[in-house]
Amino acid sequence: MDQTTSTTGQPAADEPAGAPTPGRALGAPLVELKHVNKHFGALHVLQDIDLTVRRGEVLVVIGPSGSGKSTLCRAINRLETIDDGTITVDGKELPAEGKALAELRAEVGMVFQSFNLFAHKTVLDNVTLGPRKVRGMNKKDAEELARSLLDRVGVGNQAEKMPAQLSGGQQQRVAIARALAMRPKVMLFDEPTSALDPEMVNEVLDAMVALAQEGMTMIVVTHEMGFARKAADRVVFMADGQIVEEAPPEEFFTAPRSERARDFLSKILTH
């Protein structure tokens, strides 16, 4: 519990009484999806999804293109609406719109494939914006927090630059710091390294592994098997809008049970 308080930004008060010991022990359910359905027109992108992510758990979502992984992530942050079913974060169901939704979104950090740093603001302002405008933190405290987070992901010396002056790997690490600055309860990553040049992938994955080791609850859409093996508690395999298989990473990669997963893995492994 000590390790989660300052570093991952999880307020201590969120830990249930008699919290599990630090390490990989998992807590109570934090994100719960029940019978979630979503259509894009005639396309049934999420089909009766049931998924529970526990506090401190690192979940990797893997699956072929178009299987609905991004939609799943975006639905948890309500960047996409769902047709039916429920999604709860820390026991609270996602509100439809307005202030309550904005508040809940602030508790869910999101890291996008294309970084999406605010292009007209410095790196430091990117990170302080949320704490100041959403949390009402004063400038000095927000900058202190931002600099410590930027240091943590290894871009502390870039604070005064504009996003366009940074490499992709640096931008993505700033995006991670920006999300962490809201002290989220859970972090969502949607293919955070797939827009990066190969030599920059590891610097971002290292930051994510560190975050996982500090006890952050994470849902990560990625095809990086190294990351999954090193950091994930569980792998979820999606295909055609359904969760086809769930297993610990080692088990999933060495002995996938479903035909779809075997087929998919053989394709990404032969490359």
């Binding site: 999101m110 605010f118 999300a179």
Partner: protein, 229 residues
């Protein structure tokens, strides 16, 4: 030759040409200010998540963009002032001037709105999603993230709207602002037909001199302030 020059300078003495231009500059300034405020509000409505607001914004733009300015200006005097008895100033000239400013503002607000919307289209959708993801609701996200970038992407079309507004300010004649340039020019022509080319030239050059710097400034600004992505 001497007669010619002294005639010209008498013309210059008799008519307040610079004052007329100053009137158009003032009309443009106030018109632009109010059009910018109203146009920004309309753009906000059009990009808002609330369908009824979007609808109002769209309706406004389509009505005002497609109504001739002369009709709006005439309406300001014959409708708003004469029929509805709405006074915007204590004396006639202040009243007509303000009615003309309102007419210019409501008309050009539609163009400002569309300029800003074109600027909004230069902002990648991911910027809005990232803003929402850190917990900003629509208005703060628009104010802090979308509009600042949209304005910087809209400087060129906004500059064009400003140039149009300056030239269109001569339509204030239709709102009885009889001391502005086009009215002054007409009076001068009526009584000094022998100098007609000089009079035309004087006013044309006056506008060119005002418009060119606006064009240069907006081109320079839009390059300088462009958001690097």
């Amino acid at each position: 030759m001497n007669d010619y020059l002294s005639g010209l300078s008498a013309l210059w003495e008799q008519y307040d040409v610079l004052g007329a231009f100053w009137t158009n500059i003032q009309l443009t300034f106030w018109g632009a200010l109010f059009a910018l405020v109203l146009g920004t509000l309309l753009a906000l409505m059009r990009i808002s998540p609330i369908p009824s607001l979007q609808w109002v914004g769209t309706l406004y733009v389509n009505v005002f963009r497609n109504t001739p300015l002369t009709i709006i200006m005439t309406f300001m005097v014959m409708g708003v002032w004469t029929a509805l008895q709405i006074n915007l100033g204590s004396d006639f000239s202040t009243n007509f001037f303000r009615l003309a400013v309102v007419g210019l503002a409501v008309y050009h607000a539609a163009f400002v709105c569309e300029s800003i919307r074109s600027g909004v289209n230069t902002v990648p959708i991911g910027q809005a999603e990232a803003a929402r993801a850190i917990g900003l609701s629509f208005l703060p996200a628009a104010r802090l993230i979308i509009l600042p970038q949209a304005f910087r992407g809209a400087i060129a079309p906004l500059g064009n709207t400003l140039i149009a507004l300056l030239k269109n300010s001569t339509v204030a004649a239709a709102a009885s602002v009889s001391w502005e340039t086009s009215s002054t020019m007409k009076t001068m022509l009526e009584f000094n037909a022998n100098y007609r080319w000089e009079i035309f030239g004087m006013f044309a050059i006056g506008f060119v001199v005002l418009v060119i710097p606006i064009g240069l400034a907006t081109t320079w600004l839009s390059r300088r302030l462009a958001v690097k992505r």
